[in-house]
């Protein structure tokens, strides 16, 4: 009985759905946590690229369009996490300053451990701040 319950529970967990890099790549552009930096687009874009690179994540793709610069990243599996995937968007012409949006998903939707979106956002925003400060802007 217990074994059957465990099996059913495992099936439910396995079939609940996993986030992939495509999940965050195709997410709404407004999804995630945003912050506006008081610098031009090109400077913030470069700072964001460097900030992400300094994190212990894998950069999976970078792309620039007429409206934004996008970085897709993933974080490796660990004992308490199946890993996470995330996206950073730097918006061109986002009004005063330059808006950066960070969104992230845990690969396992049921997982309560691992790095959450708030943590990714705060680390990336802090990294951008450091880059801008180091640049003397």
């Amino acid at each position: 009985m217990v074994a059957r319950l465990f099996f059913i529970l495992s099936l439910c967990v396995a079939t609940y759905g996993c986030a992939t890099t495509n999940t965050v790549r195709n997410a709404n552009q407004d999804a995630g946590i945003s912050r506006v930096f008081n610098n031009d687009y090109d400077t913030v874009k470069a700072a964001a690229a460097e900030a992400i690179e300094r994190l212990n994540v894998n950069i999976r793709s970078t792309e620039e369009t007429s409206t934004s610069y996008q970085v897709i990243f993933s974080k490796s599996i660990s004992a308490f996490s199946w890993g996470e995937v995330g996206r950073v968007l730097v918006f061109r012409n986002s009004g005063e300053g330059t808006k950066v949006t960070v969104s992230a998903e845990k690969r396992s939707q049921l997982q309560i451990t691992g790095t959450n979106e708030q943590k990714f956002a705060s680390e990336i925003f802090a990294g951008i701040d450091e880059e801008l400060k180091a640049l003397g802007t």
């Binding site: 090109d42 900030a51 894998n58 950069i59 999976r60």
Partner: protein, 139 residues
Amino acid sequence: MRCILVFILSIGLLSCERLEREPISSDVTFYVGKVAAATRVDATKQESRGKRVALSALSLNSLVMVVGSTATEKDFGDDKVWKYELQLASGRPAVIFSYNVLSIGDCVRIRQSNISDDAALFLAAENLCAAINPIEQQN
């Protein structure tokens, strides 16, 4: 009992994978250069964390300096990184790998750490590169 101990130890070791950010070097030098060529290359072919190899060789009379910016892990995916060939204001060429997106002819500032192999590329005002064009014409 032994299995439980091994399991706990394994978890303890693997759980060290927290989100961490490398600090920026406080001792840096800025250089100015112009993007002469840009190509997309496979990041996995770059040396893992062996980025930023040789801008420190700026003081040397080397033909090509290689500075990577490809912080990668072993399980790195199929990412592409930009390989920029730069013409520095000093007249020397440099090669830098970066995730920043730049265009040929862009004027850039290069931030190079004096105590590590860390380097970063930032778009700069065009007037900073005004002196570079005559050097290119000489070549």
